[in-house]
């Protein structure tokens, strides 16, 4: 009998012994045999049990998550999408983890992860991180300082073109003092330099990925079967169908309290049905108008979680086909402002979300520390909008539609399958029709939308940006530096003043000054009207009631997944499967 089978036998046996599934008919006879056998077996089991002792209830449980989208990439240097981040954060570790109040200045509030402790140099130009000697990669090899050096090298490598590159510009290099000490050198002493290292840099193993050339790394097989150091390990990924994670039992921080997490991309309506019938344990992006069903269900409950993302209608200032000439409609800031004033953002929010929506106040989500709700956004004023369009040359013709120099005021709006966005598209279409603009709704799937956004192949698009807890993340979306090949600045917005303000914000140690710089940057962006800022992504989640949740962080609800647990008295059959992954 091999170890794995013995372990499975032990855990099944223990579960059955302690929590029998059904009453045994011939109880007395069986129980004596059971008792003798169990004593022997338990002795065998406890001696074979490895890893740090688990406090409290025995671990176990299989959770099924019905998420809105499948992961695009699981390889940390190239992860951009939400599901990818969720998976990455379970499989991999950072040097330190940000605290629940998301303070990005200094290192207070950060808790140790791969780094047991860290020492600042007196001039703050470097920090020496001491790697936890117990830390192991999932293939058993120890985590070393050269892994840290390698992780930074890849993210900075232009041949790899990581989307993280714009936010770690302050990290200069990593020096390996010894196998367990990595010294990170900075270019400047900034308030968020610790945050730049700890939040943005995910540590990947050099011995696995070191041999692959940078330009081939994204599509290498090892990138789709990641080996990390986190409390969950990767089992398998069937794209579009299922992604499976299993607890890392030997983990240096203790094994996850769950056995297994299975992630399946599911359409919103199906997700709700599966959640309510107990087929899945978590549903994401559930239809808002069915929230009441969740509240009254005995199986699951609804949660409205902020998602640190905001949705806007972006207007491409350049022509979609010929990327250098200005867009015939959106190339002019007056037209953009006029169109922004023609839509009633408050009414649309009420229509789509009822009372549960959050109106967007600018290029930032609700709940982030540096937001400013006092910005001057273009007001809802159709009269002024029409006047502005008239004076820009867009005259009303026959049929009520505007045209300028023979070109009609007509453009296409790309939207994905998400229900609130589709509804917004129809609302916007009608409101713009009333002022003489014709909108063609182009509905595509998520991947195509992202691909077209990255290639700037669109007129207008309903898109969402995620935000980091730090304003330095804004550079990815609104800074000139973010316009690179894999940059997230899909609107190709470039304003030197905004760049300067954001840099100043990142460099100021004074919290009030930082906020002031950021507010000025935001106002500059809003004045340029590159987009109509519609709403903050507040996503409805449904969670099965048997799960005991761990505290949820505002920026990533999945941060403490490894501490989610299922009380033994609430377990259902799939929770008892145990640790053996299914045969491929």
């Amino acid at each position: 009998m091999d170890l794995a089978t013995l372990r499975k036998l032990c855990s099944n046996f223990r579960n059955d012994l302690l929590f029998p599934r059904f009453p045994r008919p011939n109880f007395p006879m069986r129980s004596s045999r059971l008792l003798i056998g169990s004593v022997a077996l338990l002795a065998a089991c406890t001696s074979k049990e490895s890893g740090p002792a688990v406090s409290g209830a025995p671990s176990g449980g299989t959770l099924i998550f019905s998420l809105a989208g499948d992961a695009v990439s699981l390889f940390p240097p190239s992860v951009v999408d939400a599901t990818g981040r969720l998976v990455q954060d379970q499989i991999f570790d950072r040097l330190a983890e940000i605290g629940p109040d998301l303070v990005t200045v200094g290192d207070k509030g950060f808790s140790p992860r791969l780094a047991q402790k860290w020492t600042w140099a007196p001039d703050s130009m470097s920090i020496a991180f001491s790697i936890d000697p117990r830390a192991r990669w999932h293939d058993g090899k120890p985590v070393t300082a050269s892994d840290v050096r390698f992780s930074l090298k890849i993210v900075k490598d232009s041949a790899f073109a990581s989307p993280v590159a714009p936010v770690i510009t302050n990290l200069d290099s990593v020096h390996v003092r010894d196998s367990l000490t990595a010294v990170v050198w900075f270019k400047k002493h900034t308030p968020e330099q610790f945050y730049d290292v700890a939040y943005q840099l995910v540590i990947i193993p050099e011995h696995v990925y070191g041999g692959i050339p940078a330009d081939q790394m994204r599509t290498a097989p090892a990138a789709s079967a990641p080996i990390g150091s986190g409390r969950f390990r990767f089992v398998r990924w069937v794209p579009g169908t299922r992604l499976e994670l299993i607890a890392d039992t030997n983990n240096y921080r203790g094994r996850a309290k769950l056995d297994r997490i299975i992630i399946t991309p599911t359409a919103a309506a199906t997700a709700q049905t599966q959640l309510l019938t107990g087929q899945s344990d978590l549903g994401e992006n559930l239809p808002l108008d069915r929230l009441s069903e969740l509240d009254t269900s005995s199986v699951a409950r609804g949660m409205l979680l902020p998602n640190f993302a905001y949705l806007f209608m972006g207007m491409n200032p350049y022509d979609a086909k010929n990327k250098t000439s200005p867009h015939a409609i959106f190339g002019d800031v007056r037209t953009r402002r006029a169109l922004s004033m023609a839509v009633d953002r408050v009414a649309m929010l009420k229509n789509v979300f009822g009372d549960k929506g959050h109106l967007s106040h600018g290029p930032f989500p609700f709940g982030v520390g540096f937001g400013d709700t006092t910005l001057h956004l273009p007001p809802y004023d159709t009269t002024t909008a029409k006047t502005m369009l008239d004076s820009s040359g867009w005259r009303v013709g026959a049929g009520g539609m505007r045209a300028k120099n023979g070109r009609p005021l007509r453009f296409s709006l790309i939207v994905n399958q998400s229900q609130p966005r589709r509804q917004y598209a129809v609302l916007i279409q009608e409101q713009l029709r009333r002022i003489g603009a014709q909108v063609d709704i182009d509905q595509t799937d998520q991947n195509t939308m992202v691909a077209r956004a990255n290639k700037h192949d669109f007129d207008a698009i309903l898109y969402a940006f995620n935000t980091d807890p730090s304003p330095s993340g804004l550079l990815q979306n609104w800074g000139t530096a973010g316009m690179g090949a894999d940059g997230q600045n899909i609107l190709r917005y470039s304003n030197k003043r905004v760049d300067a303000l954001l840099d100043s914000a990142a460099a100021s140690f004074d919290g009030a000054k930082m906020k002031s710089y950021v507010s000025q940057a935001f106002q500059a962006i809003v004045d340029d009207a590159p987009a109509v800022f519609l709403y903050d992504l507040t996503v409805v989640y449904g969670v099965n009631r048997r799960i005991t949740l761990a505290p949820m962080r505002a920026d990533e609800w999945w941060a403490n997944l490894a501490d989610w647990s299922i009380p033994p008295d609430k377990r259902i059959p799939r929770d008892r499967i145990g640790l053996t992954p299914a045969k491929p």
Binding site: A269, N351, Q419, A425, V426, Q429, E430
Partner: protein
């Protein structure tokens, strides 16, 4: 002499003797009337969103007999205007299919021989492709499409069935006595086709066309359900159904009324088609979709 077999009573009277045919004709007449009259019948425009805050998903009421949808559009107006679009698409598609298909089938059946074989080979190729697969491929790749393009696409994939039918009938007719008589008398090929053969194959074609209208409506609404049909705000019944899918769990009316519209219309056309077949073409083989 055109070779028509005399029947008892006029077509209309024989048709109207059947109660099923009567009610289907009434329904169709009402629908066509609604489609033709158009805008004066609609209290609201089909795209108008009168009150997106207050009238979202309002249940049927006096002001809105069919209720409103998620963006406060009046469903009754939408369904009525949808008659125009759905029937319009069907009429266009069927007209196109019948015209092209009849021409193709006449030529193949009359000329026969090598031309016929090769024409039929190509036809077989097109016919093997499941129509829905081809349509969704074409409709999505060319998206967004105005509604008349959808009609042409559906018609362009539908003429194959007609031509097969027409060819079979033409083949049978080719050697009929009256045709040979006409040819002996010096009638040219086009004249033969037009005056002699065509009227006699008209009956099964008419039956086919009637059934096809219903079928096209189903096909178009199916395409819209898959997201491959007309683009918003064009509101065919299928598109109205598709728009209602998101609210359907709380607002039963957004699916019921367009669905019923489709059902009743297709039922009417199918009933009429059956009745026409019984009257015009009693010996005819059942036509396929």
């Amino acid at each position: 002499m055109t070779g028509r077999v005399p029947r008892s009573g006029s077509l209309a009277s024989r048709l109207l003797r059947r109660p099923a045919a009567r009610w289907s004709l009434v329904v169709i007449a009402l629908l066509v009337l609604a489609a033709v009259v158009g805008p004066p019948l609609w209290k609201y425009s089909p795209t108008e969103q009168p009150n997106i805050v207050g009238l979202k998903n309002a249940p049927p009421s006096h002001a809105h007999p069919f209720g409103t949808d998620a963006v406060s559009r009046d469903l009754l107006s939408r369904v009525l205007s949808g008659a125009r679009i759905s029937l319009g698409i069907s009429a266009l598609a069927v007209a196109l299919a019948v015209t092209v298909g009849t021409a193709y089938g006449l030529v193949a059946g009359y000329v026969g021989g090598r031309l016929d074989t090769s024409m039929m080979r190509i036809l077989d190729a097109f016919l093997s492709i499941p129509r829905v697969l081809l349509l969704i491929a074409l409709a999505t790749l060319w998206k967004p499409m105005p509604f008349w393009e959808v009609a042409i696409l559906i018609g362009a994939t539908g003429w194959l069935g007609v031509s097969r039918l027409v060819r079979a009938e033409t083949l049978a007719m080719r050697h009929a006595t009256f045709v040979e008589a006409a040819q002996a008398l010096g009638a040219s090929t086009p004249r033969t086709l037009w005056r002699h053969i065509l009227p006699n194959i008209a009956a099964p074609v008419i039956v086919f066309a009637t059934l096809a209208v219903g079928n096209v409506i189903l096909l178009e609404s199916g395409l819209s359900y898959l997201g491959a049909g007309t683009s918003p705000p064009t509101a065919s019944w299928g598109a109205i159904f598709y728009d209602g899918m998101d609210s359907s769990s709380s607002a039963w009316w957004v699916l019921l009324f367009p669905g019923m519209a489709i059902l009743v219309t297709v039922l009417a056309f199918n009933t009429l088609g059956d009745a026409l077949r019984d009257v015009l073409d009693p010996r005819g083989s059942p036509t396929t979709r």
